[in-house]
């Protein structure tokens, strides 16, 4: 089975400040890693994903995340946030094919990023 821990339930920051949202996972099998974003009163959108290759992945709106296998982490960062980045951010894992009955997305409990002017 897999589990995902997002240590911070809320992260308030000021506009243009850097931010890091932490994600650690536990799994007995190899997994793919994801960050989803949920803007207020909307569904989830995929922000970025790590499937293979370079451990640093980037999104089109300036977020990046780095897969660290030894620390089983996939922290999300942005060097300068905007008010429009205010949203709930979910880290998730999905086992490789052949993951058996646990072949599903497992989410963390989310981190609410609030960007203040």
């Amino acid at each position: 089975a897999q589990s995902v821990t997002q240590l911070d339930s809320q992260v308030p920051v000021f506009e243009e400040a850097p931010v890091e949202l932490r994600c650690n996972y536990s799994s007995s099998v190899s997994v793919y890693l994801f960050w989803y974003v949920q803007y207020p009163n909307q569904g989830l959108q995929l922000l970025l994903k790590y499937l293979s290759g370079s451990t640093l992945v980037e999104s089109i709106n300036g977020f990046e995340a780095e897969f660290n296998k030894s620390q089983t982490s996939f922290h999300l960062r942005k060097p300068s946030v905007h008010i429009s980045d205010t949203a709930e951010y979910f880290c998730a894992v999905h086992p490789y094919p052949g993951g058996g009955s646990n072949y599903k997305l497992t989410f963390g409990k989310g981190t609410l990023l609030t960007v203040n002017p």
Partner: protein, 114 residues
């Protein structure tokens, strides 16, 4: 041009009632899912269907019954609604269940049981 749509967006009902939530995807995907997001925003899978066949059935009370009339639709019927069923329910779809494929989520249905 909505990829994954759900109806209704809001649903308010009394305890003990039976209600349905509908989901449709126009992406041509083979796999569809239902997720429940509780009041603390925790998101957990309930069911998944692949080509109209039930694949994942998490430990969900049997008052919840998914039905997939065709690959593009996955409806969720809930009998004898309870207060604890109040949540936001998200439908999602993906290409298939082979190599990982991105899941596309609907806008959610906010269910309130009084």
């Amino acid at each position: 041009d909505t990829a994954v749509s759900q109806t209704p967006k809001y649903l308010v009902t009394q305890m003990g009632n039976d209600k349905s939530i509908k989901c449709e995807q126009n992406l041509g995907h083979d796999t569809m899912y239902w997720y429940k997001q509780d009041s603390k925003k925790f998101l957990k899978i309930m069911f998944s269907y692949n080509n109209k066949e039930l694949i994942i059935n998490e430990t969900v009370p049997n008052r919840f019954s998914p039905k997939s009339p065709d690959k593009a639709h996955l409806n969720l019927h809930i009998n004898s609604l309870e207060l604890g069923d109040s949540a936001v329910y998200f439908c999602a779809s993906s290409q298939d269940m082979g190599e990982y494929n991105e899941q596309f989520f609907g806008p959610g249905t906010r269910l309130t049981v009084l």
